[in-house]
C-alpha cells in the first residue's frame, strides 16, 4: 500500500520547500499588490501613471531586447565556428566560454569599471590616439550596461548553441552542398532552420536574465540607468516602500512568465524535427 505513495513520499521534502518558501512568499508578494489602499488595480495604475516608472520599465525592456539581439548574433556565429572547428580546438574554445560563465557576475561586471571609467583603459587609449573630445563619459550610460550584459550572456549563448549545432548531422550539410547549394545557401536553408529551437532557448535565457539583472546595471549603470532590478532594490531597501517594490516584482514575474511560455509555444510550432 505504501508503495503506491513512495514517489510522493520521496519528493515530499523538495516539494514542501518549493511550495512553502517559493510559491507562498512570491504569491504573497504578488497578492499584496491587489490589496493596497488604492484598490485592486490601484498599484498598477499608479505604476503606469508615473512617467519615471514607465521610463524604467521601457528602458529595461529596451536593454533586455538589445542585449538579446546582440547576444544571439554574436553567439550564433561564434557557436557555428566552434561546432565546425577541429575537435582539439573545439574543447579549448568550449573551456574558454565556460570559464567566464562560471566566474561570478560581480567580477565580470567589475571588469567594465576598469575598462570604461573616466580614467579607464578605453578612454586612456582614445586620449593617447588623440581622439577629439576624449575622455568621454562612458560609464553610467545605457550603452555601457548593454555592452556589459552582452559580455555576460554571450558565453551562455555559445554553449547553448554549440550543443544544438553539433547535433546537426554532417550528412545533411553534405547532401545540401552536393545538391548544388552554396555554403551561404546551406547556412540559411539547412543550418539556420535546424538551429531555431536552440536560438529560441538561448533568447529566452538571455532576455529573462537581462530583464531581471541587478548586479551589472547597478555597477555599470548606477542611479542614472535605473532598471527594474535596481529599482526594486531601491524601493525595498532605500525608500522602504514595499507596496511599490511588490508591484515591480509582480511585473517582473508576469513579463518573465509571458516570455517563457510564449516562446516555448513558438519553439514547439517552429521545430522542423517535430511533425
Amino acid at each position: 500500500m505504501l508503495k503506491r505513495f513512495m514517489g510522493w513520499v520521496m519528493s515530499a521534502p523538495a516539494t514542501a520547500l518549493v511550495v512553502l518558501c517559493l510559491i507562498v512568499p512570491v504569491g504573497a508578494t504578488i497578492g499584496a499588490t491587489f490589496t493596497t489602499d488604492a484598490g485592486p488595480l490601484g498599484s498598477y495604475l499608479a505604476f503606469l501613471g508615473s512617467g519615471f516608472r514607465r521610463t524604467v520599465l521601457w528602458r529595461t525592456l529596451e536593454i533586455a531586447l538589445l542585449t538579446t539581439v546582440f547576444s544571439l548574433l554574436i553567439g550564433f556565429l561564434t557557436a557555428y565556428v566552434v561546432s565546425r572547428a577541429p575537435a582539439r580546438w573545439r574543447s579549448v574554445l568550449i573551456i574558454a566560454a565556460v570559464f567566464p560563465l562560471l566566474t561570478g557576475v560581480v567580477v565580470r561586471s567589475f571588469a567594465f569599471l576598469i575598462l570604461l571609467g573616466r580614467n579607464g583603459m578605453v578612454n586612456n587609449a582614445l586620449v593617447w590616439l588623440g581622439v577629439e573630445g576624449a575622455p568621454f563619459p562612458m560609464l553610467y550610460t545605457q550603452g555601457a550596461v548593454i555592452i556589459a550584459m552582452v559580455y555576460l550572456f554571450v558565453p551562455l549563448m555559445i554553449l547553448t548553441l554549440v550543443g544544438v549545432l553539433e547535433n546537426i548531422p554532417d550528412d545533411l550539410i553534405q547532401a545540401s552542398s552536393s545538391l548544388g547549394a552554396s555554403p551561404f545557401q546551406t547556412f540559411r536553408q539547412v543550418i539556420f532552420p535546424l538551429a531555431v529551437p536552440g536560438l529560441i532557448v538561448g533568447a529566452v535565457l538571455v532576455f529573462t536574465g537581462s530583464f531581471t539583472a541587478y548586479a551589472t546595471p547597478q555597477l555599470v549603470g548606477g542611479e542614472s540607468v535605473m532598471v527594474m532590478g535596481t529599482f526594486l532594490h531601491q524601493q525595498a531597501m532605500v525608500a522602504f516602500d514595499w507596496d511599490s517594490a511588490s508591484t515591480i516584482a509582480a511585473i517582473m514575474v508576469v513579463v518573465t512568465l509571458a516570455v517563457v511560455l510564449g516562446m516555448t509555444r513558438i519553439a514547439k510550432r517552429l521545430n522542423p524535427m517535430s511533425t
Binding site: 523538495a14 516539494t15 557555428y80 576598469i114
Partner: protein
C-alpha cells in the same frame, strides 16, 4: 567535421574570444598593481592587495559566511533533491508531469523577486533569523541544478539492476546507497559543483537577506566598490577566478567539460 569555414567567420570568432577573455585578463593585471588606485597595465608588481584582503575583517567574515552558506545550502539541496530526482525517474507513472516543472520554478522566478519575497514573508513575516532565511534562499536557488543534473544521470540508469539486488534479498534502503547512488556518482559531483558555484556567486537573493554582521562576499564586493576604487577588489576577483578554475578541473575529471553544453 572540419567543413570549410569562411575566413571572415574565423576572424569574427577570434575577436569574440578576445572580447570574452580581455576583461578577465585586465582584472588579473590590475590585481598585481603596486598603486593605490585601479589601473591597467599594472604599475609596479606586488601582491600586497592580496594580503590586504585578509587584513580586512569584512572580507574575511563574508568569505567565511559565503562558504558556510554555499556548503550547507548545497548539502540540503542534495539531501532533498536526490530522492526527488529518484522519484521522478523511478515512479514516473504515479507522479504527475507538473512535479518536475515545480522543481525548476526557482530558475523561472526572477532571483531578485525571490530574494525580496523571502525578506517580506519569511524573514520579516515569519520572523526567521537572517542566516536561516539566506540558507533557505540559496537551497531553493540551487535545488533545480541538483534535481535536473541527477535526473539526467538517473535517466540512463537501468532500474532492473536495483530490482535484481532487491529480489536477491538486499533491503531497499541499502540498495539505494550501494547500487543506485554509486551509479550516479558523477551526476552528484557535478550537481554539487554547479550548486556550490551558483551559491558563491549569487547577488540577487543575498541582496535582501543580509543583516548586522551577516553578509556574503559578492554583496561585500558591491558595497566596497561603491566607496573605494582600489585594487583590493581585483584581488578578490582573482581569488574567485581561482575557485572557478578549481571547479572546472573537477568537472573535467568527473564528466568532461562538454557536459556543460548539454
Amino acid at each position: 567535421m572540419t567543413g570549410r569555414l569562411h575566413p571572415g567567420l574565423i576572424a569574427f570568432a577570434v575577436l569574440v574570444y578576445i572580447f570574452l577573455m580581455g576583461p578577465l585578463i585586465i582584472v588579473i593585471g590590475s590585481s598585481l598593481s603596486d598603486t593605490t588606485f585601479l589601473t591597467f597595465p599594472p604599475q609596479g608588481l606586488s601582491l600586497r592587495w592580496f594580503e590586504r584582503i585578509f587584513e580586512m575583517a569584512a572580507f574575511r567574515r563574508t568569505m567565511v559566511t559565503s562558504f558556510q552558506v554555499a556548503t550547507l545550502a548545497t548539502c540540503f539541496a542534495l539531501i532533498i533533491g536526490i530522492p526527488a530526482a529518484y522519484a521522478l525517474n523511478r515512479y514516473r507513472v504515479q507522479l504527475p508531469g507538473w512535479l518536475s516543472t515545480l522543481f525548476v520554478l526557482p530558475i523561472l522566478v526572477p532571483e531578485i523577486v525571490l530574494g525580496f519575497s523571502l525578506l517580506r514573508s519569511v524573514q520579516v513575516g515569519a520572523g526567521l533569523p537572517v542566516f536561516s532565511t539566506l540558507l533557505i534562499g540559496h537551497t531553493l536557488l540551487v535545488l533545480p541544478y541538483c534535481v535536473r543534473v541527477i535526473s539526467a544521470s538517473l535517466a540512463s540508469f537501468d532500474f532492473s539492476i536495483e530490482e535484481a539486488a532487491i529480489s536477491l534479498g538486499s533491503p531497499p534502503w541499502k540498495t539505494f546507497f550501494t547500487v543506485v547512488l554509486p551509479n550516479v556518482r558523477s551526476g552528484v559531483i557535478a550537481a554539487f559543483i554547479l550548486a556550490f558555484i551558483t551559491s558563491i556567486n549569487d547577488v540577487s537573493v543575498a541582496l535582501f537577506l543580509t543583516g548586522p554582521g551577516i553578509s556574503t562576499l559578492p554583496i561585500q564586493i558591491l558595497a566596497h566598490v561603491e566607496q573605494f576604487f582600489d585594487p583590493v577588489i581585483a584581488s578578490v576577483s582573482v581569488l574567485l577566478m581561482f575557485l572557478t578554475v578549481a571547479v572546472m578541473a573537477v568537472v573535467e575529471r568527473t564528466l568532461g567539460l562538454t557536459f556543460l553544453t548539454k
